[in-house]
């Protein structure tokens, strides 16, 4: 009741004070509520290093050297020649060949070495702006065993070879043995030719990886059949029996796989890991009917090459797995029914395919077997499975991109030299092949990871209302990190196993980021709808508050003016 006798002026003053407090409190609530709005309605987007990602898509980002070390071991080197000189000459010429590749053409000079180098160049060097093999040939004096790391090789040159003609033997380890009757100047030639030749295909392969715009025919064909890289593959060997009522067929597949397939897979386990399944399916009918013909006296059934694409009866045969996401590689041993035996594949020219097998690019391989029906059951033991396993392995090599190491145009580069290649041990893959595969996959993974990250970046930039969780961010950062380290370790050290690991990490991280389920579950809510939701409440609420605040400010200014006036007077 204190206000009872207060004059209108005091009342007004009192009121003004209240009004200021009211406005303040309301505005305060608004300010406090703003974060709520932010927290509850923002689409969470973890920041991504877009610039770094983009940097990887520039051509020069992937341009790099691929260091290869080669140790030269000489035995019985004649006087006047030191292994180091030879090593330097070899280095020079290799440099000429592979550097000149940078500009994309080859110097042809008149001096002998250069000329031969020129020939070499014309014959084998593939101009490649991106990944360049850079060799570091050095003379090794203490004789060591075969190098243990991917990217370091040794060449043994023996100058007093018993045989009259020079021999080159590429053995299964990381070494080459060159036997020369006597070492004159062209030992350098031989070395250059050998080294350049051994790595020519690899060099060529890199071009098509990094700029697919100008692919050469053979690499294109290779890529077409080679599986896309994955950390884990699902290998499925299926025994398909057309009609078990003729003959029930079983196989000792477990033992066969342990004996033949696993050694090969173990040799590759630093690139990918494989889970091997096997199954038997009966009453597996073909979607195509083979033609019955009569070939030199016996009735046989043949399948023409052009119908092979329809061979797989994907509707009937349960080949897919329901649980794993790993890309499947299928191998099928097909036992035709009695009525269709013997079943043979024929070439385009009509004569029978000896292996009776064919490969489905990026899918798997099929072998057709015609066991003799002498009883109602037939069981393949490990021995009998051996030929099929051989075929499967060779198909698997193709599918995984294992390339046989050969020196192309050997007759031109190394005329009159006998070249022999020692076969793979029972792993089914030599170290040369393995190393090359590792390097190739490394380069490829780096490129793919860069592309994947790039498309991820574009996707995220396109859709503003897409949620980007922290997982994505961390995965992208991981990918970028391992990309960088792969890139550096490729050209610094000659141990490419390390870089392959980095590249693998990069591709895995980038893909898991790209295919993350949370990226799919994005809520898309167009802006005009947002306005329709917000406006009915917030426009009418904020207008009076704004007006009140503005008025208050005006009054305050006026009040100050008055005070000043008062002071003046």
């Amino acid at each position: 009741m204190s206000l009872m006798f207060s004059s209108p002026e005091t009342l007004t003053r009192q009121f003004e004070k209240n009004r200021r407090r009211v406005i303040l409190s309301v505005v305060a609530v608004f300010l406090l509520a703003a974060p709520v709005w932010w927290v509850t309605t923002e689409v969470y987007r973890a920041p991504l290093p877009i610039a770094d990602i983009r940097a990887w898509t520039k051509p020069q980002a992937l341009r790099q050297k691929l260091a290869i070390d080669i140790d030269l071991h000489f035995s019985g080197l004649p006087e006047g020649q030191t292994s180091t000189d030879i090593a330097q000459d070899v280095n020079k010429q290799l440099a000429v060949i592979y550097q000149s590749a940078e500009e994309g053409h080859v110097h042809v000079d008149t001096t002998k070495e250069q000329a031969s180098a020129g020939i070499v160049g014309e014959e084998i060097v593939v101009p490649n702006p991106d990944v360049r093999l850079s060799f570091n040939v050095q003379a090794a004096h203490n004789a060591t065993g075969p190098p243990s790391e991917n990217g370091r090789y040794s060449i043994h040159v023996s100058c007093q070879s018993s045989s009259a003609i020079p021999r080159i033997h590429v053995d299964a380890g990381r070494s080459v043995v060159i036997g020369l009757p006597h070492c004159n100047e062209d030992v350098v030639q031989t070395l250059v030719g050998t080294i350049a030749g051994l790595f020519a295909d690899e060099q060529a392969a890199y071009r098509s990886i990094l700029n697919p715009s100008n692919p050469t025919v053979n690499t294109d064909w290779d890529n077409m059949r080679t599986m896309k890289y994955a950390r884990k593959y699902q290998l499925t060997l299926s025994l398909l029996v057309a009609n078990p009522s003729d003959m029930i067929v079983g196989w000792d597949i477990k033992d066969a796989i342990d004996a033949y397939i696993h050694p090969f897979l173990d040799a590759l386990n630093d690139i990918s890991i494989f889970s091997v399944h096997s199954q038997v399916q009966n009453y597996a009918t073909l979607p195509i009917t083979p033609e019955a013909t009569n070939k030199d006296g016996s009735d046989i059934h043949i399948i023409q090459p052009h119908v092979l694409p329809q061979f797989i009866n994907s509707a009937q045969w349960n080949l897919a797995s329901v649980v794993t996401m790993a890309p499947p590689i299928n191998f099928i041993l097909y036992i035709p029914s009695q009525s269709q035996k013997p079943l043979h594949l024929v070439k385009a020219n009509g004569d029978i395919l000896s292996t009776n097998a064919f490969l489905m690019p990026r899918w798997g391989g099929i072998v057709i077997a015609n066991p003799e029906a002498n009883s109602s059951t037939y069981h393949y033991d490990v021995q009998e499975l051996l030929p099929f396993m051989e075929i499967f392995i060779s198909q698997l090599r193709d599918l995984l991109g294992v390339k046989t190491i050969r020196i192309p145009n050997a007759h031109l580069i190394l005329p009159g030299v006998k070249i022999t290649y020692s076969q793979a041990p029972m792993t089914g893959i030599t170290l040369w092949e393995h190393d090359r595969l590792v390097r190739w996959r490394t380069i490829q993974n780096i490129a793919d990871a860069a592309i994947t990250l790039n498309s991820l970046a574009t996707l995220i930039e396109r859709l503003e209302s897409m949620v980007v969780l922290d997982i994505i961010q961390t995965q992208v950062l991981q990918a970028l990190g391992s990309l960088q380290s792969a890139h550096t370790s490729l050209q610094s050290s000659s141990n490419h196993t390390q870089s392959s690991l980095h590249a693998r990490a990069a591709i895995t991280a980038s893909e898991s980021a790209f295919f993350d389920p949370t990226m799919v579950a994005m809520l898309y809510f167009p802006d005009e709808h947002k306005y329709a939701v917000y406006m009915p409440l917030f426009v009418p609420i904020s207008v009076p508050v704004l007006i009140a605040v503005l008025r208050e400010i005006k009054r305050w200014k006026q009040g100050r003016k008055k005070k000043e006036h008062a002071k003046k007077e």
Binding site: T236, I248, S278, V280, V323, T324, A424, P425, P536
Partner: protein
């Protein structure tokens, strides 16, 4: 060819090491497969055909399966069992309701729609259960992935493990999950992948009778997939994988006679025995009165205690291709009456109340046994959008109320959008009486996004399951029915009150306008002042 014989010679040397085991592997095959087909002509003339495809995987084969080498067991099934640590799995796709009042009890009787229950032997069961439902959804082209936490239950009493686990007590180490989709429509696209799991698919054996047009034309159709552990010998634990299909067809519909044969029922004949089946049994069971003649001479005929003839056949590769089993009757009078002599317990569930706000469930549980009180287990899993009031649960019976009916009760209240309400009761039904359970619920008002596209159709509430031990002399053929008999009630269709789906924006605008009005007027009231203006009179 990359490999020269030279180096393979080494390889083959190494192989010799394996040969020993390989040969051994040939010798021991502890997998067996047999098929079993039973035709039973029911009192009302309908023909119940029960197909069973039984695969027994012994310890050795199971060991091979463990490292992913499959021969008789389908790979997809093996993978599922291993990946998700499934010990026991029972999945049924069912259309129509098994009329246990007229047809008696069937071991293959299942709840309408999809019913899945599985015992897990793993940690993080919920994750595995989710994975399992998704994998099965992919395998059978069914929307099993809709079984999530909000309609998954863990019954305590009703679904005991059916495999033999040796001496270890399974309930202690295993965990159970139960889910059902009453609304799921079963059709050919579920049947096809199911038949692809059969060793002979549909090309030989009894499965060659499968004619989708006829199968789905029946009164009742149930397609089951069951996995359970078995102990074959002391070599260790094996696994049994059984696929069952039971269908009730009505020969009277064609021409008003009870006569039937394979060709009349399925428009097919058994092409040939499945080559992989070690034996293929066919049993035709018919009432012994009135007189009837079998189309093909059986190996043996025997009469069981309930004056029914059952004729036994054996199929093998030598069986002529066009064998056509069937029965021809002297007269074609059928008995539509309900047979109480052997099937004492039946249940009937219906909805009470009216209006979109609240309702109730009522279940009639009848015990027709003249003298004996029978113990049953009643199980019900009710989705959260029916808010149960347990305190309204009451059991009324005509019999003397001297002894209470509900012996024991287990109730798990529902969580909104989280889990269903699970009610499980041990009850004793007085002899020759009808007990009625009453339970009230409120229908939840759910967000308009939670309504199905056909919102006004309503929601199906899954069948209640009544489990009990059949009285020894009651089952028609003892070796068929497991000691635990399960009968399922009807599914109930409940319609929830629906909002107006067309006007979210109107609602937002109107309500917000009201809010704004309140804010504006009060704010002005508080921040503005009355100012006098004198008016000269």
């Amino acid at each position: 060819m990359v490999f020269s014989q030279g180096h393979w010679w080494w390889a083959s040397l190494l192989c010799l090491v394996w040969l020993g085991q390989a040969q051994a592997g040939v010798a021991i095959t502890d997998e067996s497969y047999n098929e079993d087909l039973r035709f039973t002509q029911l009192p009302d003339g309908k023909v119940l055909s029960e197909f069973k495809f039984i695969r027994r995987i012994g310890p050795l084969a199971l060991a091979k399966v463990r490292d992913n080498h499959y021969s008789l067991l389908p790979r997809s099934v093996g993978e599922i069992v291993q990946t998700f640590g499934v010990e026991e799995l029972h999945l049924t796709f069912t259309q129509g309701t098994w009329n246990h009042q007229k047809w008696g009890y069937s071991p293959l009787g299942a709840a309408a729609g999809v019913q899945l229950w599985s015992w897990f032997n793993t940690s993080s069961v919920d994750k595995q259960w989710k994975g399992l439902t998704h994998a099965l959804a992919g395998l059978f082209c069914a929307s099993l992935n809709q079984i999530d936490q909000s309609n998954t239950a863990q019954p305590l009493l009703s679904f005991l493990p059916e495999g033999d686990y040796g001496e270890e007590l399974p309930q202690d180490v295993l965990e159970l999950r139960y889910g059902s989709l009453p609304h799921e429509a079963v059709c050919t696209e579920n049947l096809t992948p199911w038949t692809k799991l059969l060793p002979c698919q549909t090309q030989a054996g009894i499965a060659s009778l499968f004619n989708a047009y006829r199968l789905f034309d029946g009164h009742y159709h149930s397609m089951g997939t069951h996995i359970r552990p078995i102990i074959t010998d002391d070599a260790g634990r094996g696994m049994e994988f059984v696929q069952t299909l039971s269908v009730v067809l009505n020969p009277l519909r064609l021409d008003n006679r009870k006569d039937w044969s394979l060709s009349s029922l399925f428009e097919r004949k058994i092409a040939s025995a499945c080559a992989l089946a070690s034996d293929t049994k066919v049993v035709v069971t018919v009432p012994s009165h009135p007189a009837s003649t079998l189309n093909s001479p059986p190996l043996s005929v025997l009469t069981d205690s309930h004056e029914r003839l059952s004729a036994h056949y054996n199929l093998d590769l030598s069986t002529p291709k066009d064998t056509d089993f069937g029965v021809t009757w002297e007269d074609s009078k059928v008995d539509h009456g309900v047979n109480r002599s052997r099937w004492y317990i039946d249940a009937h569930r219906y909805q009470t109340g009216y209006g979109g706000e609240r309702g109730g469930l009522a279940v009639d549980l009848r015990n027709h046994h003249p003298t004996a009180d029978l113990d049953i287990i009643y199980f019900e899993a009710i989705p959260w959008y029916l808010k149960l009031y347990l305190h309204t649960l009451r059991a009324e019976t005509a019999a003397d109320a001297s002894h209470e009916i509900i012996k024991d009760m287990y109730y798990q209240p529902a969580i909104d959008r989280g889990r269903p309400a699970v009610l499980e009761m041990k009850m004793t039904l007085p002899a020759n009486s009808t007990t009625t359970l009453h339970l009230e619920f409120d229908k939840a008002y759910i967000k308009y996004t939670e309504h199905p596209p056909d919102a006004n159709r309503g929601f199906d509430i899954g069948a209640a399951v009544i489990t009990f031990t059949a009285i020894p002399e009651s089952p028609p053929s003892p070796h068929d029915i497991p000691p635990q008999v399960r009968i399922h009630t009807e599914t109930v269709l409940v319609s929830l009150p629906t909002p107006d789906f067309s006007m979210p924006y109107n609602v937002i605008t109107l309500t917000c306008t009201l809010m704004a009005l309140y804010f504006g007027s009060v704010f002005n009231m508080l921040t503005r002042q009355y100012q006098p203006v004198i008016v000269k009179g």
